[in-house]
């Protein structure tokens, strides 16, 4: 596979009062050119920290990439200087976050902010950059882009702000776009507009996307391949159809049974069915987890699961799973 981004055995840790938190504990994946890879998991599973690690945005005072490798177009990112990373971020690797208002500067116009990024990375004049900003706003389907260039973030709606963030992120033709919960704060009709826009732009620009979300619906709608994370570890990875048709890890199966279904009339004889619960809680990440991280909540767990971390098993067709009990 022609991978533009290769992550190998990534481990990212934070120092806290309660000890070292192993937020990401051995994650590996490849991102192909033009591909959309989804990373899904619940709060604290390490999906956002994985994104922050790729962008080298882990605050050095409290955290670090402890080991592992992140290669972007063959170049190792973990050893680059901050100066070198600054040239990469917002240019060849770009990002959008959940709450655009926190990443936009409230005292600068939208046009100035997009143009600033273009001037910094493309080395063009302000005038050219402003034209580029206008072009980008048009690309993200903001009506009357020339007028919007002179507006401030607070004058825009939430959906419009996320469009501006996307415009900014794509303004320097990045090869990789990392989107961390890009639609979580948006209303459902606006979420549909933004997802539709992201997919359309991916077709147009060929940018590969790493889409991080807790929402299996968003994953089903957008991703081609999916990594499922639990307690800092990667428990399953598969093409999107295979993952939803035939989830192999007990955690993935549990997640799919736990969600109420919008698309299925689940009532039996007029009675509301019970949702399948996943008993227990996510383990604390301050202690090293012996064995499988899901063992304490897993109905299939054996003594082996509790003592020895499961190997990655290949189920064929690009479907891999970290579990002793899949029968493979």
């Amino acid at each position: 596979m022609d991978a533009i981004l290769q992550v190998r055995d990534l481990r990212t840790q934070f120092d806290t009062l309660e000890g070292v938190v192993r937020a990401v504990d051995g994650v590996s994946f490849d991102l192909a050119r033009g591909e959309t890879l989804g990373i899904v998991g619940e709060s604290g599973c390490g999906k956002s920290v994985t994104a922050m690690s790729i962008l080298r945005l882990i605050p050095p005072e409290t955290g670090r990439i402890a080991s592992g490798s992140i290669r972007f177009e063959g170049e190792e990112l973990t050893t680059l200087s901050e100066e070198q990373m600054k040239r990469l971020r917002g240019h060849r690797i770009s990002m959008i976050f959940q709450e655009p208002m926190t990443s936009l500067n409230p005292v600068l116009t939208v046009g100035t902010q997009i143009a600033e990024n273009v001037v910094r990375h493309m080395g063009v004049s302000k005038k050219v950059a402003r034209e580029r900003a206008c072009e980008m706003l048009d690309l993200v389907r903001i009506a009357d882009p020339r007028r919007r260039l002179d507006e401030y973030p607070h004058q825009l709606s939430g959906g419009m702000r996320q469009r501006v963030m996307i415009a900014m992120a794509l303004s320097c033709d990045p090869q990789v776009l990392i989107a961390d919960e890009p639609t979580t704060a948006l209303d459902v009709t606006i979420q549909a507009q933004i997802l539709d826009l992201m997919l359309d732009l991916k077709e147009k620009t060929g940018t590969a996307i790493v889409l991080i979300t807790h929402d299996l619906g968003v994953i089903a709608e957008t991703a081609q391949r999916v990594v499922v994370m639990y307690a800092g570890r990667q428990v399953e990875e598969a093409p999107v159809e295979a993952l939803f048709d035939n989830p192999l890890h007990p955690y993935t199966r549990g997640l799919m049974r736990a969600i109420p279904r919008l698309d299925v009339d689940a009532e039996e004889g007029g009675r509301r069915p019970r949702l399948q619960e996943i008993p227990g809680l996510v383990p604390r990440l301050t202690q090293p987890i012996i064995g499988c991280a899901f063992a304490a909540r897993c109905e299939l767990a054996t003594d082996r699961c509790r003592t020895t971390a499961p190997p990655i098993v290949d189920a064929g067709g690009g479907h891999i799973v970290a579990c002793w009990e899949t029968g493979l």
Partner: protein, 331 residues
């Protein structure tokens, strides 16, 4: 039997401006909303941010005063009651919030928090209160020895269980649940939804379940009311709503929602364009006409009433009135 009846409820918030802070306008948060909820029934109230769904909840809880309309709780009109007079009625209607933590005193033990309403309403004190609280803890799936812990020692799902136990403590008839599972992870969300359904079946509780999440709505509701800019645009049974939505906004919501099925997902969706207009300046006529793909000239002028067009199926759309052109949406 209806435990609560809401009739043409209106809540307008004044907007003050200018040097003298004069009233310069109003936000029409709730603009004539009517519904009833029967014993043991869940009415889902769904809509996007700013549609007024939470204001409906707060108004019927009498946390804010309605501008006009009527709220009848257990046969008694509580609309005009002053805070002192409404007090005894508060036992009958309780609430669960999205973030129960923000409503819990961090310095009180969990058992004290849950037992507070028992003392406030003079239902039980001392040992009897403690026994009741212990039973409530057990019922919502918390160990009674957790009564001595503080709110910050509980996980998000456990805090929601505390919130439910507190609401249940005074044996209410109605619970207003405002986005009670929206902040929870899916595995925990399933636990809380199951608990809410079990408690309803056990005690005949009526729920007004407010949420933006259509999948959760489909799971827990018996009937669903869809709100847009302060008005109910469609109200019907869950089955009818999902099988054949009659309002274009409902159709757009259902089409926009994502489902965990890659094959269904890659369909061409009917995406409504644009943003929700400001409730301070709602469009004339049908509030949805600015985004409606089927809008005709009349929609910009005439305010469509909520009408029963099939048994139990209410919709506010001109094209659904007798003689209206049902257009491409009809099935």
């Amino acid at each position: 039997m209806n435990v609560i009846e809401v009739d043409r409820l209106v809540k307008h918030f004044p907007i003050h401006g200018g040097l003298l802070q004069r009233r310069v306008g109003e936000v029409r948060a709730v603009d004539g909303v009517s519904f009833t909820i029967a014993k043991g029934e869940t009415l889902g109230l769904v809509g996007e941010s700013g549609c007024g769904k939470s204001t409906v909840g707060k108004t019927i809880l009498k946390l804010i005063e309605p501008t006009s309309g009527r709220i009848v709780l257990g046969g008694e009109d509580i609309t005009k009651l002053k805070p002192g007079a409404v007090w005894p009625h508060r036992k009958r209607i309780q609430t669960i919030f999205q973030d129960p933590y923000s409503s819990m005193n961090p310095r009180l033990a969990a058992g004290t928090i849950v037992g507070e309403p028992l003392e406030n309403f003079d239902i039980a004190r001392g040992r009897e209160r403690d026994e009741r609280v212990a039973a409530l803890f057990q019922r919502v799936g918390l160990r009674p020895d957790a009564m001595r812990k503080f709110a910050h020692e509980f996980s998000g799902g456990q805090r929601q269980r505390l919130g439910i136990a507190k609401a249940l403590s005074v044996s209410p008839d109605v619970i207003v649940a405002d986005e009670p599972v929206s902040a929870l992870d899916v595995s925990v969300q399933a636990q809380v939804l199951n608990l809410l359904i079990d408690l309803q079946e056990e005690r005949g509780l009526a729920y007004l379940f407010i949420s933006h999440d259509l999948a959760v709505m489909r799971h827990i509701s018996h009937r669903i009311a869809v709100m847009y800019l302060g008005r109910i645009v469609e109200l019907t049974t869950k089955r009818q709503l999902f099988a054949g939505p009659l309002h274009p906004y409902t159709e757009a919501l259902l089409s926009a929602a994502t489902a965990p099925d890659p094959r269904r997902a890659r369909r061409k969706r009917a995406i409504v364009q644009g943003d929700v207009p400001s409730p301070a300046k709602p469009p004339p006529g049908c509030h949805f006409h600015t985004r409606c793909p089927y809008a005709v000239a009349e929609c910009k002028v005439d305010d469509p009433p909520l009408r029963e067009v099939a048994p139990g199926h209410h919709v506010a759309c001109l094209r659904r009135l007798p003689g209206g052109d049902p257009g491409p949406l009809s099935r």
